[in-house]
């Protein structure tokens, strides 16, 4: 990877990596630290990285750093500013979004990462498996379980949509 390819990777993928980490950690400062660290590692290892695969490398490094960050016991503080309110034009959509965010926070870090990698980045089961160190079948099973859990939270008695 050349310096130019590295800088292009920053422009194209810094936001998506940050968004993915932020949704998992729910702390903007921690998310920035993880993203900066991931890019720094990629810069150090740029000689061994193909420019076309910088995104998967970046997400892999960021994911593992995020997991390490969580397992070190650092508190996940739900900050209001960590989740920006999208401009919604009806109350129902705003309500649904809020419930989903709560449901996502109830997942474990692996399930949450799988859901976000799948929904935010559109990775295949195999690609997600490479990033997280799981097999494709494991990714499929864990992801399906996560969606069922999210669905059940949506239809729980306290969250019945009007």
């Amino acid at each position: 990877m050349t310096e130019k390819e590295y800088n292009n990777c920053v422009k194209e993928h810094a936001d998506s990596v940050y968004r993915f980490i932020l949704k998992n950690l729910r702390n903007s400062e921690d998310a920035r630290d993880v993203v900066q660290s991931a890019f720094e590692k990629m810069w150090v290892s740029r000689a061994a990285i193909d420019g076309a695969r910088c995104k998967s490398f970046l997400f892999t490094v960021a994911y593992h750093q995020m997991i390490d960050h969580i397992r070190k016991g650092k508190a996940l503080i739900l900050k209001e500013d960590a989740v920006k309110e999208m401009p919604v034009y009806n109350r129902q959509q705003q309500q649904t979004r809020k419930i989903l965010e709560e449901a996502l926070s109830r997942l474990n870090e692996t399930q949450r990462s799988l859901v976000l990698l799948k929904d935010y980045e559109g990775y295949s089961y195999e690609e997600i498996g490479e990033i997280t160190g799981l097999s494709a079948s494991q990714v499929k099973v864990y992801l399906h379980r996560a969606r069922i859990q999210l669905k059940n939270y949506l239809v729980s008695p306290e969250n019945i949509l009007e």
Binding site: D15, Y120, H144
Partner: protein
């Protein structure tokens, strides 16, 4: 692919994950049409798919960019700063060494010399030197007449670091007894900075032996003959100033009301220049 009311959930999840091809998607859609009660189930599963929030961005992306050329400049600047700091430190050290050496004053009164009595001495007894014309004191004149030989009036400095004054009229040359340039003649003594007062202007009452011991001896001081420009004295009569011959610029100890300074090269140069000018301009 066989979708039915027992396996539909898996296919619905695969559909939501986007893992089905076009034909498989069409088959799932047909199944839902055939089983409209399961449409709500499909809708809920699709609700669990998150959409990326485009408003969340990594601010100040320039912090992540890399520029190899700027990194090299930083290293260069660091080395440059270090080299400049080292050069300044060396320069200040040298300047400080020079000035501290020059200003290292050793104040030690060597002797208090009373002004000598002015005597009328015959011109025939005047001894010339490279620096000035001298006349022996009365005592040496007597000795000379008695012994018939010159008695040098030199004294060796006890140390090279002996303090000196710049005034040419206030120093005395010393040599070690038995080790002088005038070959072991008597009367040559070491003159050290005495701790006691010299009673007579013409005598120094302390000396250092070659073995380091001290003894009290008398050393004559040569007065320097100067022209008498005073109208109240008869012509031909000379007056005498208390002065010392100087045969070595660097081996003199200066007496009486002079501040003694540590010899340095710079001071030596200045002293030589001063003496040269003094020789040129001194009255004979």
């Amino acid at each position: 692919m066989q979708i039915n009311r027992q396996s539909y959930e898996e296919y619905f999840l695969l559909y939501a994950d986007g893992e089905l091809n076009e034909s498989e998607k069409k088959a799932v859609e047909e199944f839902i049409d055939q089983n409209p009660d399961l449409a709500g189930e499909m809708s809920l599963i699709q609700e669990t798919v998150f959409k990326p929030d485009g408003s969340i961005i990594f601010e100040n992306k320039e912090l992540l960019f890399k520029d190899s050329s700027s990194e090299r400049k930083i290293i260069y600047a660091r080395w440059f700063r270090m080299a400049a700091a080292a050069a300044l430190l060396i320069a200040f050290s040298v300047v400080g060494w020079v000035f501290l050496g020059d200003t290292n004053m050793h104040r030690e009164p060597v002797a208090i010399v009373k002004p000598p009595e002015v005597k009328n001495i015959e011109h025939s007894d005047v001894v010339s030197s490279d620096l000035e014309k001298k006349q022996p004191v009365q005592r040496l004149a007597d000795e000379k007449k008695q012994t018939g030989k010159e008695i040098p009036l030199v004294a060796q400095p006890e140390k090279k670091e002996a303090n000196k004054s710049q005034h040419p009229a206030n120093h005395e040359k010393n040599t070690q007894p038995g080790n002088s340039d005038i070959n072991n003649e008597p009367g040559v003594v070491n003159v050290v900075p005495p701790s006691k007062t010299i009673e007579s202007a013409t005598f120094i009452q302390d000396a250092v032996k070659p073995d380091g011991g001290r003894e009290t001896i008398d050393v004559a001081v040569e007065p320097r003959a100067i022209e008498n420009n005073n109208d109240d004295q008869p012509p031909g009569q000379v007056s005498y100033a208390q002065s010392f011959s100087q045969e070595s610029d660097d081996d003199m100890i200066y007496f009486a009301n002079t501040t003694l300074t540590k010899k340095t090269r710079l001071r030596g140069v200045f002293r030589k220049a001063t003496r040269y000018l003094d020789r040129v301009t001194s009255l004979q």
